[in-house]
């Protein structure tokens, strides 16, 4: 029950906290002037007219970074329980954790050697 109470606090926190950024927006909505016109609403590109579509194809490198990040993120999810229980682990447990890390360093090394970590 104690843990549920903790999360009830988080739930209430979310319920109240979103009002804090919304409050200034509402106050501003009441007081601010509204004199929009077509020129003002144009996309801002330093005075140059926008050419073509914004939502174009992006390069693959972003996806590769995202993917390597995802792999490490999942690794960390496995490692947090391991680190939490560390004091109670045997030497075998330590070795198992280190082997886990070793396999993933392999993956990083592969990405490095394949130049997948380069920006350009």
């Amino acid at each position: 029950m104690a843990t549920l109470n903790q999360w009830a606090f988080i739930g209430m926190f979310i319920a109240v906290a979103w009002l804090l950024p919304v409050a200034p927006l509402v106050i501003s909505w009441i007081f601010r002037p509204r004199r929009a016109n077509a020129i003002k609403l144009q996309t801002y590109e330093c005075g140059v007219e926008t050419v073509g579509d914004t939502w174009v194809q992006f390069k693959v490198q972003y996806y590769i970074y995202g993917l390597i990040f995802l792999v490490f993120d999942i690794e960390v999810v496995f490692l947090f329980p391991w680190a939490l229980a560390f004091n109670q682990l045997s030497l075998f447990g330590l070795a198992a954790g280190l082997l886990f890390v070793f396999f993933l360093s392999d993956a990083l090394l592969y990405a490095w050697r394949k130049n997948a970590l380069e920006w350009a």
Binding site: T54, K59, L117
Partner: protein
């Protein structure tokens, strides 16, 4: 039994003693706690922005805000009033719902982190068992808000900026989280309050300086501070993901940035600088809060000076620094720390639970871990020196071969 000493943390028991229904008392305690914890950062951010402008001004030989109020203290309140009365423009092609939701979510993500921060031995919003994991999870929502802002603006600069920032944030999250594993491992807990108590005997920056360094640098990048402030690369991306935002929505993004930077330093203090620990902190809880804030400013102010002095790095350099230096170092750090801690435990010199807050009992393990860290730093520096020399020789060979003008251009930006 709880008594009525500390008004906030024992609010409920005081009310129950005076005859209020327990459920209602708990609810009211939560409500008061939520409002206190959530509104504190908003008050703080006004002072933070003032301090940052003053310090940046002094570094650049200016005066900074000095007209509104004593020492310009009310300048930010004046700025906030101005932002509130500014016209708010949503560009014609924007995706309205996402465009408006993004600044709210960005700010919410930072405020939510404050829910689990221990302010003193007894005052903490909620001492969540999964505190560290919660902080990372909430932080990753902020990344999403930036992506939403950039995409919904329907502006090429905004989208490009958002994509770069997202790539930067997710990349630097890897070493940050790997460094976070070390305090969890040392304290055997993910609760920030437990990690604070575990540092009563020895601060974690002493036993794990490399992890602290990685966490600090990764946090600079996570919060978009110089030299990693590509978030607002005005020279190349005009302003980045928030280019189309005006009025109070823009103000929210700015406030979020300042607050996030401070929160990151606060977390650094909690995780590595002993949190609220200090003389008489356990006897007088309020002193703990004072210590915590003092320590946080000790690490926060250098980051401001850093911001005012160093140039911005290029994005390919920044990515290379992360993936080819910080990530391998954080992996090495985790392996070395885990091995040494286990060695200490097997050798029987690790402090047991009873003597964890005793300085002398912590000393043998601390010395071994510190030596391990020093060795790690020396090895890393040697590797870096060799890599640097190889790089320089390569460049010199290239210079000898080709005309100076025919050098390959620096990595193209896209």
């Amino acid at each position: 039994m709880e008594t009525c000493i500390n008004i906030i943390s024992t609010f409920a028991s005081c009310m129950v003693q005076s005859g209020t229904q327990p459920g209602l008392a708990l609810f009211l305690q939560f409500l008061v706690g939520v409002i206190l914890v959530a509104s504190f950062p908003l008050v703080l951010v006004i002072i933070l922005i003032w301090g940052e402008r003053k310090i940046a001004a002094r570094v650049q030989d200016r005066l900074g805000p000095n007209r509104v109020g004593p020492w310009g203290l009310f300048q930010n309140i004046a700025d906030a009033l101005k932002l509130i009365t500014k016209e708010d423009i949503t560009p014609a092609g924007a995706d309205r719902v996402i465009f408006n939701a993004a600044p709210i979510i960005a700010m919410l993500a930072v405020i939510l982190m404050w829910a689990v921060i221990p302010f003193s031995p007894v005052n903490v919003g909620v001492d969540l068992d999964l505190g560290v994991l919660y902080i990372i999870a909430v932080g990753s929502v902020g990344t999403l808000a930036i992506m939403m802002a950039g995409w919904a603006s329907n502006n090429k600069y905004a989208l490009l900026g958002a994509f770069r920032v997202t790539a930067q944030l997710v990349s630097y999250e890897v070493p940050m989280v790997m460094a976070l594993l070390v305090p969890v491992l040392l304290a055997s807990s993910m609760s920030l309050q437990q990690i604070s108590y575990a540092q009563l005997g020895m601060w974690f920056i002493v036993v794990a300086p490399v992890a602290a360094f990685i966490f600090y640098v990764a946090n600079l990048a996570e919060t978009g501070r110089a030299p990693f402030d590509l978030i607002e690369a005005e020279s190349e991306l005009v302003a980045g993901y928030n280019i189309e935002y005006s009025g109070m929505k823009f103000g929210l993004f700015m406030a979020t940035e300042f607050l996030h930077a401070f929160t990151a330093n606060l977390l650094f203090t909690v995780l590595f600088l002993g949190s609220w620990s200090g003389p008489w902190a356990t006897e007088v809880p309020f002193l703990g809060f004072v210590w915590l804030m003092l320590k946080t400013f000790v690490v926060y102010i250098p980051s401001l000076v850093l911001r005012a002095t160093v140039p911005r790095v290029r994005i390919d350099q920044m990515m290379a620094f992360n993936w080819k230096f910080l990530v391998p170092l954080s992996i090495l750090n985790l392996v070395v720390m885990a091995t040494l801690v286990k060695v200490c435990q097997v050798a029987g010199i690790a402090p047991d639970a009873a003597s964890a807050s005793d300085f002398a009992a912590n000393l043998p393990q601390a010395i071994i871990l510190l030596l391990g860290n020093v060795a790690m730093v020396l090895v890393t520096l040697q590797v870096l020196r060799n890599a640097g020399r190889r790089e320089r020789l390569k460049m010199e060979a290239l210079m000898a071969d080709t005309d100076r003008d025919a050098l390959p251009a620096p990595a193209a930006h896209s």
